[in-house]
């Protein structure tokens, strides 16, 4: 009924279908890069992806939280609940959720990449 060759071919096909599906899902689900101004305009809880230049870095609570000030044409605050190795002058690609802090919208960074 099923030879080993058929079983291996089936295994390979299933893996390839999975990889294609993986690429497609990641491609379709990626958030478009938005202007930093969206941080001010976005609703509380909304997910955004922005790119900006690091102007100021502060580590607090034993380096467990990193506070960033990033700018493009406007300047916005972002918070990373982790110690991240970034310094002023770097350009960052950040993805995260908008949360209100002291009435001001702030980006809570979930994913961060340097450019």
């Amino acid at each position: 009924m099923l030879s080993e060759r058929v079983l291996i071919a089936l295994g390979l096909s299933v893996s390839l279908v999975g990889i294609l599906a993986l690429c497609l899902i990641l491609w379709l689900s990626e958030l478009p890069v938005a202007q930093l101004t969206v941080v001010a305009a976005a609703k509380d809880g909304e997910m955004v992806r922005v790119t900006g230049l690091v102007e100021r870095v502060r580590h607090i609570k034993n380096d467990s939280i990193t506070l960033l000030t990033v700018s493009e044409k406007v300047t916005r605050n972002a918070i990373v609940f982790d110690a991240v190795n970034v310094s002023e002058g770097m350009t960052l690609d950040m993805e995260g959720e908008i949360q209100l802090y002291d009435g001001e919208p702030e980006l809570v960074v979930r994913r961060l990449e340097t450019r």
Binding site: I8, G11, G18, C23, I25, S29
Partner: protein, 406 residues
């Protein structure tokens, strides 16, 4: 379209997960839950280099590959004497006839078929879980009690079955409520189903015949294959819906509906249940936000709120891991077939027992060792009185049942 760096990180995590799945699948006693817990503990460091999704994909691929490979040690190890072969598990019957590779191949077909069917039927399962779970939840304790009674009453040796079930249940209640005990399931399940089975096989004069290693073309009637895969989906669905219900118990229940599967059909079913259970536990995670096994608990703790996109990604990872798992299981099955009749079987079994005993104090302390000895003593009884080992699952079923009933 530029390939996303996240894609490479996920693929790398997936491959590392496959490696971890090989280790957990082939090593008796090393469970995916253990690796998932270690990964969670190391996640603050790992998250500096990998995105959360990659860590979750590691766990998914490890768990899927594990379900393809875990049948190999259960087929090749713990077989009793050929003279008592009629009373042993079907996998061991194949081994004692020299058809260990054929048994592995049947479980691979079952697992791969189950993975494809489960992914295809996933939307249907989401709907069923959404609308059927409130009913199940309302009567969960009673359903589990009915399952326990059914398992005991169908046994020809009901008194022994009831005694083993209750003793295992009492042991489970004590162990799962011991304060400060880490990894309580490790010594409990290793003793009831691992060390005890291995010790019994040592007591018998087991001679493993040379194994057939040429490509075993398997003839399974289409009807049997369809019935076995359907039973697998049903059993996996039961284990995903009813907490505390193990794969062996679910198999017994579904065999009541699809009778006369034969040994080939049973091996297909055995291969499919754990794979279905794992994939469908993603449905319960999506719909109910409830984790049904240790791996899914780890995924839940890593990913804040699991949404449809996450689940689609996990299903894609499942397909990749299933395909790789099938090929790896075939390769390892052949390696085991060649080696099993050449190695000193008794020395191998003693080595595994020593490994499990040595690992217990490390994972669960000295109390764990006491639990391992007690559970092993209890696990020896079913084989001695010739009743089903599945009654030992009372160790989980009873505490879960009481949680819902009291």
């Amino acid at each position: 379209m530029m390939p996303s760096p996240v894609l490479f990180q996920i693929l790398l995590a997936l491959l590392l997960g496959v490696l971890a799945g090989i280790i957990t699948g082939l090593t008796p006693g090393i469970h995916i839950n253990l690796v998932a817990v270690l990964l969670l503990a190391a996640s603050p460091v790992l998250l500096l280099s990998f995105p959360v999704l990659a860590l979750a994909c590691f766990i998914i691929s490890m768990s899927v590959v594990h379900t393809f490979l875990d049948s190999i040690p259960s087929i090749f190890l713990g077989a009793p004497d050929a003279a008592t072969a009629l009373g042993v598990l079907p996998g061991h019957r194949y081994l004692l006839k020299g058809w260990g590779l054929m048994a592995v191949k049947l479980t691979i077909i079952g697992s791969l078929g189950a993975a494809l069917l489960s992914v295809l039927l996933f939307p249907l399962f989401v709907l069923i879980v959404r609308y059927a779970y409130p009913f199940f939840q309302a009567v969960m304790g009673w359903l589990l009690l009915a399952v326990a009674l059914f398992m005991v009453l169908r046994d020809k040796k009901r008194l022994w079955a009831a005694l083993i079930f209750l003793l295992a249940g009492s042991l489970g209640l004590i162990v799962l409520n011991l304060p400060g005990l880490e990894n309580p399931l490790f010594p409990l399940l290793s003793g009831l189903f691992g060390v005890s089975t291995l010790l019994i096989s040592l007591n018998d004069e087991t001679i493993i015949p040379p194994q057939e290693t040429t490509d075993p073309r398997i003839k399974v009637k289409k009807g049997i294959a369809i019935k076995a895969l359907a039973s697998g989906q049903f059993s996996g669905f039961l284990t995903a819906m009813l907490p505390g219900l193990g794969a062996a118990t679910a198999a017994v229940l579904s065999l009541q509906i699809t009778r006369d599967l034969g040994d080939h059909g049973y091996m297909l079913l055995q291969g499919s249940i754990n794979t279905v259970n794992f994939i469908l536990s993603l449905a319960t995670l999506l719909v109910l936000g409830k984790a049904r096994n240790g791996s899914i608990i780890a995924v839940q703790q890593l990913v804040d709120s699991v949404g449809v996109v996450h689940i689609l990604l996990f299903l894609a990872v499942t397909l990749v891991a299933a395909g790789l798992g099938a090929m790896l299981a075939l390769w390892f099955g052949r390696v085991f077939s060649k080696l099993i009749s050449k190695v000193n079987y008794k020395a191998l079994v003693w080595g595994i027992v020593a490994f499990l005993v040595g690992l217990t104090p490390l994972l669960s302390g000295w109390t764990g060792l006491l639990i391992l000895v007690t559970a092993t003593a209890l696990g020896v009884i079913p084989a001695t009185v010739k009743t089903a080992r599945v009654h030992g699952m009372g160790c989980i079923l009873v505490p879960v049942m009481l949680y819902f009933l009291l």
